[in-house]
């Protein structure tokens, strides 16, 4: 009974933080959802209405609809997760909140809320894409989107953890945003070029930018038969490693950070 009360006591502040974070980011969620829907319509509906040829098959239709989505997803993750910790210090809201709530409970509640919102945006993208795919190609609905969706969620968790880590010691959300976004599209690229200068054949599994390519590629029907693509087990392992290690680091840094 006592342990039950203790668990409830821990979960209640997390739940309240979760709800508060959801409501305070409601407008951002609506904006990014509309951007996602607009992106799908601009690339996967409008060109075909005004005269472009349809993609050869449904898997290519899904693939073409998802390549640009990965960039929008990265942007969305950076936007939502960048202020997760540093905003409490920058806006001095931590002075009010932190005496009332445990730091662990605060970061978990905020992390889960932002995760929920970004996964919601990814869900809206996939549902819109499936609907448009059905409009042009009819049945059957190609179920590989579930695999791509699963990898999107892992990617969100991993990149979200990285953004949370940077947010735990940096001063403002904008600097976290720039650092994470820059790391994704410039940092990993430079690192890969440096590594490949010495080890030409080394597959850059450390690069999240390289791993993120699995999200659209897994939609192609020849993904599992062709050797061209990244291995699924390797991608899952790397993403989980990034997610867990960076979140733990963020938790440790935040616990030690003074107001």
């Amino acid at each position: 009974m006592a342990s039950g009360n203790r668990v409830f006591g821990t979960l209640k502040p997390i739940f309240h933080t979760f709800i508060f974070e959801l409501t305070s980011h409601g407008k951002k969620f609506i904006t990014f959802s509309m951007i996602t829907i607009l992106q799908v319509f601009l690339f996967n509906y409008l060109p075909f209405i005004i005269g472009s040829h349809l993609s050869g098959s449904l898997d290519w239709f899904y693939f073409e609809g998802t390549i640009y989505f990965v960039i929008i997803l990265t942007f969305t993750i950076c936007f939502f997760f960048s202020g997760i910790i540093c905003s409490e210090y920058k806006d001095k809201t931590g002075l009010t909140i932190l005496p009332l709530i445990n730091k662990h409970e605060l970061i978990i509640g905020k992390y889960l809320a932002n995760l929920f919102l970004v996964i919601g945006i990814a869900t809206i993208h996939y549902l819109t894409l499936i609907l448009l795919g059905y409009n042009f190609y009819g049945e059957p609905v190609f179920y590989s989107w579930i695999l791509s969706y699963g990898f999107s969620i892992l990617y969100i968790v991993a990149l979200g953890s990285i953004a949370t880590f940077f947010s735990s010691f940096m001063s403002s959300p904008s600097s976290v945003f720039i650092v994470v976004f820059g790391f994704m599209y410039i940092g990993f690229d430079l690192l890969s070029q440096f590594v490949q200068a010495f080890y030409f054949d080394f597959e850059p599994f450390y690069s999240l930018a390289y791993i993120s390519v699995i999200i659209p590629n897994i939609l192609l029907q020849d993904f599992f038969t062709s050797r061209m693509y990244i291995s699924v087990e390797g991608a899952i392992a790397v993403l989980l490693f990034y997610a867990i290690s960076f979140f733990i680091l963020a938790l440790l840094l935040f616990t030690r950070r003074e107001l």
Binding site: S52, S57, G138, E139, P140, F142, Q221
Partner: protein, 328 residues
């Protein structure tokens, strides 16, 4: 006063200018209507389904030995079997006569004989030399899945297929005459006669049946297009009612075939009836686009409903707060 007059003059000039443009456009449309038809195709999918098949009546009326899968392939003789057609895109181009012979006139048997005929000098070069005319067509690409009772594969059975429709159906007449003349040349060639090779002569009815069974697309307006085709080909046993072609045919007994076209110009329903009007075989169509628009409509209405509720609630709270303040 002078300014007002000037403004009135300018308005009149503008109206006149717009009127000229409008009239010219209407004139062009009227002039074009009789000579060219438009492309009604839309990108997307159409699903055919066999809705009814009475095998015993079919054997007694249409053909004792052959069933609908000889006409449509796959499992077209099984009720519930579905076939899928996805239009991928189109473009306008010109072709010479030989292409039209191969597309519209040659049957499968003729196509199999054509390489032999070609080796005796009656190939595309010969045809284009003697029937040297270009015709404008709308050429379209499509994917096709034949009739099946199972699930459709992601990739089509017939990938990147091409077909076309004539922009001007009146041009079927010279091509039709040219074909029959060419068939006569082939049939009368003594060398080919010794090999027992001949090309069939086609009547207007034969051509229309072949046209429909190959599921060629027609231009819009559909009724005018089909009427023009029937007139130039002098079909005797084919009539038209709205967008439906009605064939009077003789198999084991007399029967009719009704082929209805949708607004895109693609075959929508196919109905075989006996002389008493009883349906022996029926194919109908459905469009995933319809489901898409219904879902989008539901989502849009829900979002609009939520927004309206939110605005009403906000206004209600505002009114209640201001009323309380007034009372205090």
């Amino acid at each position: 006063m002078w300014r007002l007059k000037n403004m009135k003059n300018r308005k009149q000039m503008l109206l006149l200018f717009l009127g000229i443009i409008l009239i010219n456009n209407c004139l062009i449309t009227i002039l074009k209507a009789n000579s060219n038809f438009t492309n009604g195709l839309e990108l997307g999918t159409q699903i055919y389904e066999v809705k009814h098949f009475d095998e015993i009546t079919w054997k007694n009326t249409v053909n004792f030995t052959k069933n609908p899968n000889h006409w449509f392939g796959g499992e077209a003789n099984i009720v519930g079997a579905k076939s899928k057609l996805t239009i991928e895109g189109w473009y306008y181009t010109n072709f010479m006569t030989s292409v039209f012979f191969a597309t519209f006139f040659y049957s499968n048997k003729t196509l199999s004989l054509f390489p032999i005929v070609k080796s005796y000098g009656y190939g595309e070069t010969y045809i284009n030399e003697y029937y040297s005319h270009y015709y404008t067509v709308c050429s379209y690409d499509y994917h096709y899945w034949p009739f099946t009772t199972g699930e459709f594969d992601i990739h089509p059975s017939y990938d990147m297929e091409h077909s076309m429709f004539m922009q001007n159906p009146q041009e079927f007449q010279p091509i039709f005459e040219n074909y029959n003349e060419f068939a006569g040349i082939i049939t009368n060639d003594t060398t080919l006669q010794s090999l027992n090779i001949s090309f069939p002569f086609l009547t207007g009815d034969d051509f229309m049946w072949q046209f429909v069974m190959n599921r060629f697309v027609v231009g819009t307006p559909i009724n005018d297009y089909l009427t023009t085709m029937l007139n130039v080909l002098e079909s005797k046993n084919v009539t038209i009612q709205d967008n439906t072609l009605i064939f009077q045919r003789l198999g084991e007994q007399n029967y009719t075939v009704e082929v209805t076209y949708n607004k895109q110009g693609i075959m929508e329903t196919f109905n075989v009836k006996n002389s008493e009007g009883y349906t022996i075989y029926k194919i109908t169509s459905s469009y995933p686009k319809t489901v898409f628009f219904i879902i989008v409509g539901i989502i849009a209405s829900s979002v609009l409903g939520i927004v309206i509720l939110f605005v009403i609630k906000k206004n209600y709270v505002k009114d209640t707060t201001s009323n309380r303040k007034t009372k205090n």
